[in-house]
Symmetry: D3
Subunit: 283 residues, 6 copies
């Protein structure tokens, strides 16, 4: 199913333009005639996965710039591939150039890395999905989560409002895994799942028995994960829960986890430490 790109609000469009040109573009307004028109092509300068085109194109619409999209979000590009053609008023195209590149290179950087992670899992015959976390940049979460999804990842919680995730702090406050889980089950709305972070096999089994929907094994070594999986299978609990692993998993060591019999691998770095994908606008 095609992932739907989030809609920019008008105030986002206007704030982003304002951030870069509160009092206009003093260079173009000094040098480029008001009615000058031009064409430009956005091309890849490195290989990767493109993300964000139908989002940023809303800014192009806002500014009255014509465009043709050559490549759909989620597609692979290699160096010099045409992604987007622009045509219109030169001053307006120069006004949007940097904002467009800043947005697209960031989202495409995320998508590219997610695709790499998905490929590592596949190559190791793993079946787990790669998930992003809430470790996103302020104001950009829905766009970052979209980039994750378009590249084959899954979004995980969007926010604190859509799924319970019981962490060590909650467990401390409640007194024990079972008390925390009990409170969660009693007090949550029935439309919300419960994910619980556990650190021992014992807690994992307990959580599964009590009815957690998702067990997050946090910072646990591959061998131990195997054992927990096995114990869950033996107790007939494995199918009742989703097994998620998280904590310290990075591109370098992902292969060590990729073939484990788990369902979800969460990686914060996918959105908190993004290497932009190099794209450029040629006039």
């Amino acid at each position: 199913m095609d992932t739907k790109p989030p809609r920019l609000t008008i105030s986002e469009v206007e704030n982003w333009l304002h951030e870069d040109a509160q009092y206009g573009d003093v260079t173009s307004e000094a040098i480029i005639p008001a009615t000058d028109k031009t064409k430009a092509v956005l091309r890849a300068r490195k290989s990767g996965i493109v993300a964000g085109i139908p989002i940023i194109s809303q800014v192009l619409d806002y500014l009255g710039i014509d465009y043709t999209i050559h490549i759909n979000d989620g597609s692979n590009v290699v160096e010099s591939d045409k992604i987007l053609s622009l045509g219109g008023n030169t001053r307006e195209i120069l006004l949007i150039e940097r904002l467009m590149l800043n947005f697209l290179t960031h989202l495409s950087g995320i998508a590219t890395q997610v695709a790499n992670m998905v490929a590592i899992v596949a190559k190791n015959n793993g079946t787990a999905k790669i998930a992003a976390t809430r470790k996103t940049l302020p104001g950009l979460r829905k766009y970052q989560k979209y980039a994750v999804k378009i590249a084959g990842g899954t979004t995980h919680r969007f926010s604190l409002s859509d799924c319970l995730l019981i962490k060590d702090n909650h467990i401390q406050a409640a007194g024990s895994v079972s008390k925390a889980l009990q409170l969660a089950i009693e007090n949550r709305d029935f439309t919300k799942r419960i994910d619980i972070e556990v650190e021992t096999m014992e807690d994992a089994l307990l959580a599964a028995e009590m009815g957690a929907d998702i067990i997050m094994l946090d910072n646990i070594q591959p061998e131990e994960i195997q054992l927990i999986h096995k114990a869950l299978v033996e107790k007939g609990l494995r199918k009742k829960v989703i097994l998620e692993i998280s904590g310290g998993i990075n591109p370098a060591n992902l292969k060590d986890y990729a073939s484990l019999p788990i369902d979800i691998i969460s990686m914060g770095s996918l959105t908190h430490s993004v290497i932009a994908l190099d794209l450029g606008l040629d006039f």
Copy 2:
């Protein structure tokens, strides 16, 4: 002179909280009693430079969370250093935890990398300043630029409105370097500087003679940069202009440029490809 942290607007505070908790925190509200209080300490989990504390503390004020700042922005931390102590309502601290970390780890990641680049220049006995570019993330520019500055870098243009930067597109549109520069000089307001991107020694000399304030040598090899500098010196033009280099300079090759007799080294990656500095909140 101490760098002044940008002020968050109330709508940024509210939008950022809303992004993460439009309908509240369903976990804490199920498990943590409403009046529960706690203390927490923000600590470094890696070495680096901290940035953003007096900014994010505005969100703490908004939520009524008490805090003590142990380390000023721009300071070095090593693993386990205490940065910030929090005290207050447990639900509120859990509400802000992730937003606070997302913001601080990003800004501190920038500051850390900038400090590394500044150190490379110093180690090579260079005198150039490290500058950020407009390659920032939508909505976060003033915070990213602040992180650059607090770590010893310089901000470069804030936006299209505060300095002219004549690029190849402007030169093409005008017909030549001299025509573009002539238009810029005639049409700019007198309070704005002119920076011009050039690719040859000839253009660099022409721009300096005509009165550009800054010459940006874009994607030029070190030896060629030396020659241009020398030519400018010989023509008595070197002191009249600021020499900036840009394009393809990265942490790996910075040392090749660090000792050149130039004034400014601009690096887009400082803000477009940020590796978060690992920080954590311990309860």
Copy 3:
């Protein structure tokens, strides 16, 4: 666990005040001296459940009005019970009077009705929870859902983003219950539950077998609901799913459904057709 009242944003506070006094209060400004002070007491004029006090008190804080809360949200009041005492500048209290009453009488109206419904279920020895729907008023959802919860109801989905709810339109588009459910299972994020609206026992059993988290029996008669429950029990599926009933259930006929072996009773009227609870401000 105490329900946490949603926080008003500053722009809500300002927009609401602006709606009622864009150019000030022309009556009070003509008659009441600028420094006049007064006291006022908010009292119940009918019996019911109070909701919204800690929310509207944020507007009192904004205007610098002192107050004492006598009754917590979710509590029962009878006629003439004191709810809130105010003290401060007379003009400011008159400015806020109507907005405060408009907000509180609406939320308290919701809470009162929810409590009535919960009582009907209890009286009939039912165990189902009363849930609100997305049939809320634009701009007021989080406050309306809060009033439901404070009175003993549950919130159901907050929005389209936090739980899948497969309706007839989705089933039609997909071609069948099984196809729609299959797509949902494949494409949803693992942190989101799936609720599915079914109209026949066959579909209910199918949905439960395929792994739906919640089965919503829409517009089905009590006897048929009993049969579906029984069939689910017999197939060993009843514990795997949450049974929700919905459609045409109202205060008048709720008792017919109250003792059914189901988990959730959803009622749109709780938020779409609210009778304000009569409260008044006495000076």
Copy 4:
């Protein structure tokens, strides 16, 4: 003269969509293909007066959904009447469905009730107009007042800024009816009317003599109202003032007041306790 529907602001449109789908519609995005198109018809499920179509259609425009309006605001519908036909992207129509219904059923509920009240007055050969009050829901006043007007009611004050309404609190603060009215007359701008709430015949006469534009008889029995009217006539004051009655008038007892020789009947319940008119969207 046709009543002009209020214009939605873009931020209202975006906030209302955001309230229901901050992170998208997880159901439709899982099940409905991105390019799927559909048609849908909005129909009445009960008899009543429709209100709000040209307002909500601004959201349809915003989302790029085509539509045909079959029935003008203020018209009567009976069960199954077609009100609005929609055509367009299925995901977008499902996105807007609930918001559209929430808004229209509420406004149509108001219009329906107002029309009922107007009919009661007419049936009793009364000539008074039915007026709404400021007892509206935060953020929705202009829409609610519009629904009142489209159904034959009148709006009364829009806010505290457009007409003086002297209430008991103002009278207390000033010391007497005459002092309060004197201050109002002296200090108000000449473009603003003065309405004054009185409880006795004596005060009614005094207010009329002093120059009040409107006399509001608050919580006064029909016979007493008749006497006040008569006294005003005898003193030659009746034509100088508008007589408004208010307080405790509801659908059940309206007929007792409907034939009185007064000008305005104000009823808070028209906007504070609204029974939604049942409408539905058929695909």
Copy 5:
């Protein structure tokens, strides 16, 4: 009765600061130490009436600057009079200096001119009030109207929503003065007055007879105004209406109108052509 100063919204405060310092104050941040403190005094540099202090002081509160108000809005100042003392962080005081002066010199310029006009009327033994119009600057109306009122003027309509003002265009569209007035009387809400612009004695008498609340004599010579007044008196209509004159009345010719037996003199220039009152901040 003291005029109540309008409240700034937080977004006005933030937008105004942002307009002048999106990326901070590059001068002060380079020269003034972060913790430097200073005192400053706002003084008059010309004689006039001060307006706006309690409004702009909200920005001082926002920035944490201490202040003492020496002179109330509406008071006379002469050169060098102290108006406001400030104390606090030097950078913050420099940040607000220009915005504060821009706002206060504008509002005080309005107040000063209004007071001059009021004085001319008084000197000529006139009894008319000076009124401002809707000829205000976008975004500043409520502040400008406040300055008019604090100096002894009256506000006239705040906006198109609070009083009917029938102009030539409406009369043309309706076909005649009587038709326009008839429609207005039938369709307006009873809480709204009707002002009608007329150009002949005949229309003035007709309007008064039909029940207009206010007759605006537009661009009519003083002798003719006298005649219209007389005719109204003779017909017993003068007390039923407020007589307003407008059009082409300016400081230079006001004395020709000042002693006329009219109620209101409206002058657009009070708000559309404002000469700032010179005020300065001394450190």
Copy 6:
């Protein structure tokens, strides 16, 4: 090069309309039929320079009003010249009439005065440019600066963020002209110019030697300005700096400064004390 008109944000458009018609236009809605159409022409009623047409036309677009622009911004008009023709719904044109005039008469008033000042300089064979200052009205700066530029003036600093301007307060805080300038040079970003206000020849020479970009001679008599210019020439410093004069220069005495060998004449009154240019809309 054509000056680019600033873009209105949607929230400015909506706030400005809201300021004048929060609850609609009660006159037109009572008298003008909903579908009535009309034509109107905006004409000059006085001679001057027009400014703001392409800005306010964004509001016309927003409201769906057709228009033809007859005269470009910056052009001269004489009485009765057609500027803009409008066609469309009568209610909408009446809704926008006053806002349009308020905006255009203000901006055109600025442009007219700037053109007058430019003409005085030209007539005296001066070569200096006329510059506006930051003495603008809150919320209107970019529009006011645009009007200055379209009429042949220059904008000067847009805000505190785009150029350093060292004033007496900074000099006091630093201790001396040389210390302040030294700090500025060290701490500013290289893309920002430094302007410094000096009061003596000695300081002017010092500032020029140290590398200030602009020397602002504040409140200095013409003869003294000549001497400072001469001294700068003799020291070979004149070409290195821009000479700006400011303080107490007004339309009456501008001719005394117009032929001086300086570069910039700054006048605050251009934007702080604006006489609106009379324009009118004829139906």
